[in-house]
Symmetry: C2
Subunit: 215 residues, 2 copies
C-alpha cells in the first residue's frame, strides 16, 4: 500500500489534525479547502501541509485547493481508519473508568472490547456492555479475541510488568497513561500520555517567562 519512506511522527500528528478540521469543515457544508486554510487551523504553514500530504500522493488541484470529501477519505485511508480497531483497557481506576465510558473512542472507530483489573472488588462490575475482567484472564482473552491496541491506565510501578505481558501476548500498539517510560521491542509502537510531563512543561514555561520579565 502506501509508506515507502519512513514518515515522521510529527507528520502523522498533523495528518490527524487536518482530518479533524476537514470533518468539521464538511459538517459546515464546505466542499474545498486550500493548504493555507488547513495550515491556519492546524497551527502550521501551507508549505508544511503540502509537504505532509505529498509523502502519500497528490490530492489537490492546482489553482483550486483540495476537495474535502476526497482528501478526508484519503487521510482516513492513510491513517488506517477504514477498519475498526479493538482496544482493551488495563486498569479500572479513575482514568481507566473514564476512558472506558468515553464516547470518542467508538465514534472514531476504536471499540473498547474489554477492561481489566486485578482488584477483586472491581472485577465483575460493569458500565453499559462492558464488564471488568480479571487481569488473570489477559493472555487467554488476547489469544482468543485478538485486540490490536492496549491502553495502560495503571500506576507507574506496574506499567512495565503489564507491558511485558501485553507484548508477550502479541499486542503491537500501546497507549501508555502511566507516568513511567516503558521498554518494548522495536516492532511495538508506544504512545505516551503523561499528565505530569505536560503540567511540568507548563510550569517550566510559566517560570522561565517570569524570570525573563525579572531581568
Amino acid at each position: 500500500m502506501h509508506l515507502v519512506k519512513r514518515i515522521a511522527e510529527s507528520t502523522v500528528r498533523r495528518l490527524s489534525i487536518y482530518l479533524r478540521f476537514l470533518e468539521e469543515s464538511a459538517s459546515r457544508g464546505l466542499t474545498t479547502i486550500s493548504s493555507e486554510e488547513l495550515a491556519r487551523r492546524g497551527g502550521t504553514t501551507s508549505a508544511q501541509v503540502r509537504k505532509d500530504l505529498s509523502f502519500f500522493g497528490s490530492f489537490g488541484k492546482r489553482g483550486m485547493g483540495y476537495a474535502i470529501p476526497e482528501l478526508t477519505a484519503s487521510l482516513r485511508d492513510i491513517l488506517g481508519l477504514r477498519r475498526e480497531w479493538r482496544v482493551i483497557i488495563i486498569g479500572a481506576g479513575k482514568i481507566g473508568t473514564a476512558l472506558a465510558q468515553y464516547r470518542g473512542f467508538r465514534q472514531r472507530g476504536f471499540l473498547v472490547s474489554a477492561v481489566y483489573d486485578h482488584d477483586a472488588r472491581k472485577i465483575g462490575s460493569k458500565w453499559e456492555a462492558l464488564v471488568v475482567r480479571d487481569m488473570e484472564q489477559l493472555e487467554k482473552d488476547i489469544a482468543r479475541e485478538h485486540p490490536e491496541i492496549a491502553v495502560l491506565a495503571i500506576p507507574g510501578e506496574d506499567a512495565q510488568t503489564a507491558a511485558d505481558r501485553l507484548v508477550r501476548a502479541g499486542i503491537k500498539a500501546i497507549l501508555n497513561f502511566a507516568p513511567t517510560q516503558i521498554q518494548t521491542p522495536p516492532d511495538v509502537t508506544v504512545r505516551n500520555v503523561n499528565m505530569a510531563m505536560e503540567l511540568e512543561g507548563l510550569s517550566f514555561a510559566l517560570s522561565s517567562r517570569d524570570s525573563k520579565l525579572d531581568k
Copy 2:
C-alpha cells in the same frame, strides 16, 4: 534566573522523565547515577542526557556521575516546581471529573482549586473539597483567586470560546484535552492532550506495519 537560550520542548519533556526516574531511584536508596543509566530508562542516549542538563549548568562530577538528591533538586528548580501552581478545570464531564479526583495533581504540586461547568445539573455537586462552579463566575473568580493553569476538558466545539475567555482573564498556561487545536497569543503556552490523535498514530503504525509485511 536560568534560561538564556530558547530550550526545545523535547528537552523539557526529557527533563520531566529524568526527574521521575531520579525520584524512583532515590526511593530505592540509590545516591548517584550516571548519564548512561538515566538514558537507558529515559529511552535516549547518554550524550543527550548530558546535553540536556548542560543547558542549565554542570550538575555532575567527572568520573562519578550525578548525585541524585542534588540533581533532583536542580531539575525541580529548573522546571519551576519549587512552588505550588493553582489549576482550574473547565468542564465537569467524564474527563474533567476524572482529572479533578486524580491524586497525581496534588502529589506533584498542582492544586486543583476549582472546577467549572455551565450545566445547571452539575453546578453545586462536589467531590471532596471541590464544588462545581458556574462557568459564569469564571472571570470574576480568576481575577480574585489568580490560578495559573487552566485545564480544558470540554467538547471541541466549545474549546476556542473557553480558551478566549481564559486568555482575556489573564491565564498564561492551558492544558487542552479537547480534540481541537486552539489559537492563543504567543505569550500563552498550550499543551495538547489529544486522545484521538494518539489512537490514530497507533492505527497508522499498525497499518503501515501490515502493508510492509504484505510486500
